[in-house]
């Protein structure tokens, strides 16, 4: 479809805005990676943190800086760039909105990070009450979220402008996807903003004495599950739209891609109870309902898998591949822009399998709060998503800075991904295994008074440290490539690959752009899944909890 608004190159001014986000994201990778390495070393039992630094302080740094900061900043930068590329250069007002969002997020990050470093907020990235942090930590995180809303507003404004100028036309696919993710994020963050503003902040300021833990955790997880889809959908944007162009193929179906994004919007939010299956205060019937809704997310996930296999196979067969799997050989195995995200896709298979286990109600008892869970999300976010983001960086950073990905950097990118995979196989594999043997997550090294069961875990913890060290090497390599692409790579043109649908004549049904309908269904599902449980949690609440500072 001809789209006159689309740019061949992202406008330089918009590029600067996106790059600002990436500088913060990769700084976060450096700090968080170091913390991750220290965690695995401590847990191996062979190393102790110097100067009395606590394990949980390091773990808080790691979770906040990688789980919240790296992801949010990278995603916002990527979505802003993708929107500017496919729907046209931002207007001055839109770009200023983006910058306000960026600076709010950055100020919030600095504030929260300062409180963590001062050891005033060692409450981990989930900040569960009754652990109580300094008020400035909560204010910092609030600013990050408000900033992300303002950033998102720039995308929404651009989308609205495009639709106004192109009546009756479906929006460009990458803009559509950025918009869905932005809306899901806004609806989801209302939950965490509510618990922070109405419960945790007044409580940490001493305005109220106690806090309702059940309500606070439920509001957190109302946000926590869509959070993981907020990480994942930008990777899906790259898989659905960018990868087909990189390999020289076509998007299997534009409409299927839109449909799967809409399904993620609907089913990502009313499912937070699958993180609370072991918690009291919520009726098992409501947990079961949310488990069913959780399993509906399997549908768009498998649609995505199908569509990606089909893109690869069609491409390979067009190149003359025969046999059942001959098409695999035709894929461009020397191109980091393909190989690195491809490793991410493959990783999503064991990652998704583990997720189905986690969500299976009673079976959650086997893995809940064990290090299996940590192994699981180091496959999902710390490999599938992060490797896809690295793969995107290899063309997006030079595209935005007017440079080129050289042959040498391309090769280094592939080596980086291989190192990451080896390190993660050790670390995540050992975490999964130890978790099945009962090893707890979020725990410093301990022999648990010489217990025989705890002794079984130690070899796996050593394996995690080996994996963690290899991963840290991968982080150093990635930072080197990033700095090269941002400042030193030779000047030139690097393509921003945007795929076209196999059937160009097929126009996506306009119903996908009907936000009254989709947001309406989203809210109905949320109200259905949460109203009665919230009434229960409030009416039958135990006495509220005072704050604890256990570090």
């Amino acid at each position: 479809m001809f789209n006159p608004a689309a740019n061949l190159k992202v406008d330089r001014r918009d590029g600067k805005l996106a790059m600002a986000h990436f500088y913060v994201a990769f700084t976060a990778l450096a700090i968080g990676g170091l913390a991750g390495l220290l965690q695995t070393l401590v847990r191996s039992g062979k190393f102790e943190l110097p100067a009395g630094i606590g394990y949980y302080q390091i773990l808080t740094v790691h979770g906040v800086v990688l789980g919240l900061v790296l992801t949010t900043f990278f995603i916002m930068g990527f979505q802003l760039a993708a929107t500017s590329k496919t729907s046209g250069t931002f207007t001055k007002k839109q770009r200023i909105t983006g910058w306000v969002g960026f600076w709010l997020m950055t100020a919030g990050t600095v504030l929260a990070a300062t409180m963590i470093l001062l050891n005033e907020a060692t409450v981990l990235y989930t900040f569960y009450a009754p652990l109580q942090a300094h008020a400035l930590y909560y204010i910092g995180l609030t600013l990050v979220i408000v900033g992300s809303w303002v950033d998102g507003a720039a995308i929404i404004m651009k989308y609205a402008e495009w639709r106004r100028k192109n009546p009756g036309q479906p929006s460009p696919l990458l803009t559509f996807m950025s918009l869905v993710n932005t809306m899901m994020w806004i609806v989801a963050t209302i939950g965490v903003a509510s618990t922070v503003l109405f419960q945790l902040l007044p409580w940490s300021l001493g305005i109220v004495e106690t806090v309702n833990i059940g309500v606070s955790r439920t509001l957190f997880w109302y946000f926590g599950h869509p959070l993981v889809y907020f990480w994942l959908l930008p990777a899906y944007m790259a898989w659905y739209v960018v990868i087909p162009k990189v390999i020289g193929g076509k998007i299997f179906s534009d409409s299927l891609a839109r449909m799967s994004f809409i399904l993620f919007l609907l089913f990502s939010i009313p499912v937070g109870f699958h993180h609370q299956l072991m918690e009291p205060g919520i009726d098992p019937a409501w947990k079961f309902l949310q488990v069913i809704l959780t399993f509906l997310v399997v549908i768009p996930s498998l649609m995505t898998a199908f569509s990606l296999f089909a893109t690869f196979e069609s491409f390979g067969r067009a190149k003359g591949a025969t046999g059942l799997f001959g098409w695999l050989k035709k894929l461009p195995w020397g191109d980091a822009r393909f190989v690195v995200p491809f490793i991410g896709m493959v990783t999503f298979i064991p990652a998704g399998a583990g997720g189905i286990v986690n969500a299976s109600h009673q079976m959650n008892q086997v893995v809940h709060n064990t290090i299996w869970v940590t192994g699981h999300f180091h496959l999902t976010v710390a490999t599938s998503v992060v490797l896809t983001f690295f793969g995107v960086s290899y063309w997006l950073i030079p595209h935005l800075t007017g440079r080129k990905l050289t042959k040498a950097m391309n090769k280094l990118g592939i080596i980086q991904a291989v190192i990451w995979s080896i390190g993660m196989t050790f670390m995540s594999g050992a975490m999964h295994a130890a978790g099945l043997l009962g090893a707890p997550r979020r725990s410093s090294y301990s022999e648990y008074g010489g217990a025989a069961q705890a002794a079984e875990w130690i070899p796996y913890q050593v394996a995690q440290a080996i994996g963690g060290s290899i991963l840290f090497l991968g982080i150093i390599l990635m930072l080197y490539i990033f700095i090269n692409l941002a400042f030193f790579a030779p000047k030139g043109e690097q393509e921003f690959p945007v795929g076209e649908a196999a059937d160009e004549a097929e126009k996506a049904p306009m119903v996908f752009e009907n936000w009254k309908l989709w947001l309406g269904i989203t809210f109905v599902l949320i109200l259905f899944a949460y109203t009665i449980p919230f009434i229960d949690l409030i009416q039958n609440a135990p006495p509220g909890a005072k704050g604890y500072k256990l570090w």
Binding site: L302, A305, F306, F309, A310, E313, S314, G316, R317, A318, T322, G323, L324, F325, G326, W327, I349, P350, G352, A353, G354, I356, V357, S360, Q362, M363, Q365, V366, V367, L436
Partner: protein
């Protein structure tokens, strides 16, 4: 000889370039992997609880 010539069928492999049978096989393999993982942990669950 003519007889054997006739009975030898010439196998002409016509592979449709729009075939998606590899995709079908892949999603089935993926499905089996999901089921096997799930059953594995399910058996662990049954043996423990």
């Amino acid at each position: 000889m003519a007889k054997t010539e006739l009975s030898r069928k010439t196998k002409t492999e016509i592979e449709d370039s729009s075939s998606l049978k590899g995709t079908l096989a892949s999603v089935f393999l993926l499905g089996f992997f999901l089921v096997i993982t799930w059953i594995g942990v399910y058996l662990l669950f049954v043996s423990r609880f």
